[in-house]
């Protein structure tokens, strides 16, 4: 009897040790993830002279100042970059939604000649990397004189075959009976789409919307190619510009303030919609 107790006690100790090990490991990675954010935040609250006098980096500002945040809006056009990004993000996302809702409806509900072929072609295009098509798009937009315009930024960014596919799959799950009932009631297809399908699929639509917003907010390559006028820079290019010539190369605290300002909107969005975002990404979003 005593022996069993002893063994039980032993295995309990092992269990506790194991759990401690797991928590330690996970905490180490959590620190690795959070530390850059902490470093950015705490340095953004230091004054330029304080930061520069630190031979050994310090983990807290001795005097907290918000002067860097004032600077990011007065000395560099960060507000303009933010506004541009907002316009770009909202316009791209809304146009994409309109386009894919119509197309997903056609694929999921309507019967017409060539539908299967069109759908197969679309799936095949999903495998084409952006890098291959961006070259011609650059030439197209340049030829159309759309460089340094919002239209030039937005148009090639609208296409998202993956989201179209995701929405089509969701639409296809809505039972046929609803559609037939609506037809008996004399409802037009468009009305049915707007009044029945879109509301039923709203969770998926919201997920797609959020993922597209994240993608737009962080997009760097296309905006960099198509804009060289600072008046049309988005935040990614803005941060690169600020880094190379904004405050002077050495003003790290001001740069950190700018980085904090542009990171904050998405972090808030993520904390509010974290379940939806994580679920959406695990259904097939890719990055890296």
């Amino acid at each position: 009897m005593n022996e069993i107790k002893k063994i039980k006690k032993q295995s309990k100790t092992i269990q506790i040790l194991k759990k401690t090990g797991i928590y330690t490991g996970l905490t180490i990675w959590a620190i690795a993830v959070l530390f850059p954010f902490y470093w950015m935040l705490q340095n953004s609250l230091k004054s330029f002279s304080e930061y520069n006098s630190e031979n050994i980096p310090k983990f807290f500002p001795s005097v907290v100042t918000f002067q860097n945040y004032v600077k990011t809006f007065t000395e560099v056009p960060l507000a303009k970059y933010l506004l541009n990004t907002l316009v770009f993000t909202v316009a791209t996302t809304l146009i994409m939604l309109a386009v894919i809702i119509l197309a997903a409806f056609a694929f999921a509900r309507l019967e017409f000649k060539g539908k299967n072929l069109a759908f197969t072609l679309m799936l095949a295009l999903m495998m084409i990397p952006n890098e291959l098509v961006i070259i011609t798009n650059f030439v197209t937009i340049t030829d159309m004189n759309l460089r340094n315009t919002f239209l030039g930024l937005i148009l090639p960014s609208v296409t998202s075959i993956f989201y179209l596919y995701l929405l089509k799959e969701n639409f296809a799950q809505i039972p046929d009976e609803l559609y037939l009932a609506a037809q008996v009631d004399g409802s037009t297809d468009f009305n049915y789409l707007i009044k029945v399908m879109v509301p039923i699929s709203s969770p998926t639509i919201v997920t797609i919307l959020i993922l597209k917003v994240i993608e737009c907010w962080n997009s760097y390559v296309w905006p960099r190619l198509i804009t060289d006028d600072k008046a049309y820079f988005l935040v990614s290019n803005g941060i690169q510009e600020i880094r190379e010539s904004g405050f002077g190369r050495e003003n790290v605290p001001a740069m950190m303030a700018a980085v904090t300002v542009i990171s904050l909107p998405l972090i808030i969005l993520f904390l509010v919609f974290k379940n939806r975002i994580m679920e959406g990404v695990s259904r097939g979003g890719t990055k890296g």
Partner: protein
């Protein structure tokens, strides 16, 4: 009535079709044409002839060779490292309940951050400046080493930072996918193993690993594809002039050829992009063949 029906279907499809045709299908054809047009001039739109000159030029360009080398090193290090670390972290997550959700939320955070913005923070952490050696070097010197210039210094040091940052950026996606794969393994297998008194080690190698092998294959393939397209991480750390820093990637080479100080050569850019596409395609096929042999599908 029937024609009407067809027309209606295509009408709903029209906006999407226009976007896809103009910005995906046409460019796809066009990029092939560009890559074979010799001496294409961007301003006049003329070319000398058709041939393989662009490919030969790109393959002999030292900047391209450098970019190719950088990309391959980056892929070879970050794909296995990030996949293994992500698996270990996800296994840890699957064994706990208390504040699990909080960990998951924190681990996912890098996914939603701006690569350029956080890259700047990484640069500050690693950079050596005249007045301060930076935090990482402070730690190294405290431990008895000597300070290293990670941003403007030796090649291996720069590559190390790039690898660390790349892994940091790709981890959220991998942890998320592994975590949901581990959660979906049928619990009865574990229960049966527990009744038999199977050691944990064996449970991992004989049950967990085979059950999640499709996920490992999936993450390896997407990881390879993603890492071959690395670019903005490098820009974030070393600035836009990657050729001078010696840290350019294949995608970076494509964009530099297209636009920027050395730009204006869509033909060379196209040739490089197609070479990249062929590399990625080859690696993906090899991956698929390998995983067919080792992956257990179904129950």
């Amino acid at each position: 009535m029937k024609i009407n029906k067809n027309l209606k279907g295509w009408l709903y499809l029209l906006p999407a079709f226009v976007f896809i045709a103009v910005f995906m299908i046409y460019p796809l054809v066009d990029v092939l044409i560009y890559s074979f047009e010799e001496g294409y001039n961007f301003a006049s739109g003329n070319s000398f002839g058709v041939g393989l000159y662009n490919y030969k030029y790109v393959l002999r360009d030292p900047y391209f060779i450098q970019a190719l080398k950088n990309t391959f090193i980056l892929v070879a290090i970050t794909v296995p490292a990030s996949t293994i670390i992500a698996l270990i972290i996800s296994l840890g997550l699957s064994k706990i309940n208390f504040i699990k959700k909080a960990y998951q939320t924190i681990f996912f955070l890098p996914y939603v951050t701006n690569t350029l913005a956080v890259g700047l923070v990484f640069m500050i952490l690693f950079k050596k400046t005249p007045y301060s050696d930076g935090l990482v070097n402070f730690i190294i010197t405290t431990l008895g080493g000597s300070a290293i210039d990670f941003i403007d210094g030796a090649y291996w040091a720069k590559m190390l930072v790039l690898c660390i940052y790349t892994i940091w950026v790709v981890m959220p996606f991998k942890i998320l996918i592994f975590t949901s794969a581990l959660a979906s393994v049928d619990k009865t297998y574990y229960q049966a193993a527990a009744i038999d008194g199977t050691p944990e080690n064996r449970v991992f190698w004989k049950i967990t690993l085979p059950m999640i092998s499709p996920t490992i294959a999936y993450l390896t393939i997407t990881g390879f594809i993603g890492a071959f397209k690395a670019y903005s991480d490098a820009v974030a750390l070393f600035g836009t002039d990657l050729n001078t820093a010696g840290m350019n990637t294949i995608v970076g080479y494509v964009y530099d050829m297209l636009y920027g100080d050395g730009g204006g050569y869509p033909s060379f850019a196209s040739a490089a992009a197609i070479i990249l596409f062929c590399i990625v395609l080859t690696i993906t096929c090899i991956n698929l063949i390998v995983s067919k042999k080792h992956v257990t599908y179904g129950k």
